[in-house]
Amino acid sequence: MREIKYVEAENEALREEMLRDPDLILIGEDIGKAWQGAFKVTKGLQEEFGPERVRDTPISEAAIVGCAVGASLTGLRVVAEIMFGDLLTIAMDQICNQAAKIHYMFGGQTSVPIVVRTNFGAAGNYGAHHSQSLEAWFVHVPGLTVIQPSTPYDVKGLLKSAIRNPNPVIFFEHKFLYNTTGAVPEEEYFVPIGQADIKREGRDLTVIATSLMVLKALKASEELQKEGISVEILDPRTLRPLDRKTIADSVKKTGRVLIVHEACGTGGISGELTKVVIEEAFDYLDAPPLTLAGKDAPVPVEPSMEQYNVPNEAQIMQAVKKIVK
């Protein structure tokens, strides 16, 4: 199978869906031909589909998401790009009070089929306003669907599913992943929302890792294998709704679990994942579940300090050994 970059796989998903659905439009800051998206995800799309369907906006995050909501209620489908995940905070009312609640609050009369795409995470030394991992904020809001794909295959299949989903989806892409490569079929496929994926099978322990941490856990697991420790790696892919069954099945099999994410630990998705493990597989546990998360601090700029604050392969190996012993 061909190998393409994460950013290319995403671009293909957008292009395929725009070709299929003439009512699908893209809006966001600098997504048109002048810049092609801050991370080039929308490259070539304005040239192909025109400025009516690929719309550069002013720097107005609340209006971008609100506009997506209003357009989606009246016959269009919209993928909105927020240039950095940190800037979702400026659109919180439209995401959490409006988009997330419209279906419920109006008695199920209508729904809000929008995707809000954004990036997150510490990569590139962008500092405290451009590096946060805020996914847990959105997981806490009923009505939202939250996705964090880790591979080119997943990002394409999940973005296509998200675009066709009738509910508002917050779609988080780790900055470091854009230039990673992986196998992606030529033919059309979908990755279902709410379905976790076992990225590596193992016997001794389950590492539940999200986004970039999946890649780090895979590397760590190869080293651990040399030491005779067989690690299973589970990527939830969708954080809301969580795939409780796949998590339960894996933990029941291995009896041990380590949860790894980049977001700071306090209030992070690890708390929710631990809850699922306890509710679904407590009697199967041979050791307490542990979490390895980002430090409870803003993300600094200086490169070694930036990476000091997020989990790495060595820490994953250390944590695994601590649990397995």
């Binding site: 209006a63 609100g66 209003g70 209620l73 016959g75 009070n97 008695g107 009369q109 729904s111 989903n165």
Partner: protein, 327 residues
């Protein structure tokens, strides 16, 4: 001024329907039957009636926490509205929305809104659909208050609608107070309509208690919008008869100010104007009687409707993925 006779009646019909709905809801609220709160539209009827008389069923509106007038004028069912206030299963939102969250998507009513300013970006988005999908044959009327004109949503959404020349009427109902805060201590310009200059769009002040003035200014704005000339900001200067919400006695308003505005009650003014023209009082009384009957029916409907099953409180959080989603 050349307004057809039926339109003149229609404006009056909408205004009294709103007034009677609000009077009766206010009265029933006092008996404890309606839960939550109630922000009545009494005194501002000329704005909703005057603007929406220029729209069709295919056009869209966004509304506010003080939204009963807008949705009634756009054709929402008084039965289902009253049932929603009563928290009944037959209400527009099956009891989940209440007074501040009424919508009817079949009638282009994209929702009242509990967040001040929250509907303004949504209106801009609906305007984008009107432009791209309906080629400016449809328009949006976005209602909000003087308070909302100081939110970031207002500025972001109007700038976007301006730069994209979207067919949206931004209707600022300046009723002089945001809860208890006078517009004089919250807003630096004397006319909020002047802000239109900053967004490169048309801005106009209307007498919000004169339904014909509102109607004609709305009509001109709809014409501009349909010609592709973009949005208009219409500031309608008006006044709440009651306080901000049901429990607010509004003692912060000077008595002479209240008296001056009440002397210009929009329904009294318009009724007198109709009588001054060639319209007979019995024709007006017939409209009033009909409105009373409609509201009586709505109250009966609400009272007789069943309560929702309490378990439905956890339903409808997500829309179901349809089978053909991957066609």
């Amino acid at each position: 001024m050349d307004i057809p006779r039926e339109k003149l009646f229609d404006l009056y019909r909408k205004m009294v329907l709103i007034r009677y709905f609000e009077e009766r809801a206010y009265e029933i609220f006092g008996t404890g039957v309606i839960a939550g709160t109630l922000h009545t539209y009494m005194g501002q009827e000329a704005v909703a009636a005057g603007i929406i008389a220029n729209l069709t069923n295919d056009d869209f509106i966004t509304s506010t926490h003080r939204g009963h007038g807008h949705v009634l004028a756009k054709g929402a069912s008084p039965d289902r509205m009253m049932a929603e206030l009563f928290g009944k299963e037959t209400g527009y939102c099956k009891g989940k929305g209440g007074s501040m969250h009424i919508a009817d998507f079949q009638k282009g009513i994209l929702g009242a809104n509990g967040v001040v300013g929250g509907g303004i970006p949504i209106a801009t988005g609906a305007g984008l659909s009107c432009k791209l999908k309906y080629h400016n044959k449809r328009v949006v009327a976005c209602f909000f208050g003087d308070g909302a004109s100081n939110t970031g949503s207002f500025h972001e959404a109007i700038n976007l609608a301006g730069v994209w020349k979207l067919p949206v009427l931004f209707i600022c109902e300046n009723n002089q107070y945001a809860m208890g805060t006078s517009v004089k201590i919250a807003t630096a310009v004397d006319d909020i309509a002047k802000r239109a200059v900053g967004y490169g769009i048309a801005g106009v002040v209307a007498d919000g208690n004169d339904v014909l003035d509102v109607y004609l200014k709305g009509k001109a704005a709809v014409q501009r919008a349909k010609k592709g000339e973009g949005p208009t900001l219409i500031e309608c200067k008006t006044y709440r008869i009651k306080g901000h919400s049901k429990y607010d006695p509004a003692t912060y308003r000077p008595p002479e100010e209240v008296e001056a505005w009440l002397a210009r009650d929009p329904i009294t003014l318009y009724r007198a104007k109709l009588l001054d023209s060639s319209i007979e009082e019995e024709e007006i009384v017939a409209i009033e009687t009909e409105a009373t009957e409609i509201i009586d029916h709505a109250i009966d409907f609400a009272q007789e409707s069943p309560k929702p099953q309490v378990e439905t409180a956890a339903e409808d959080v997500y829309a179901e993925v349809s089978e053909d989603a991957r066609d």
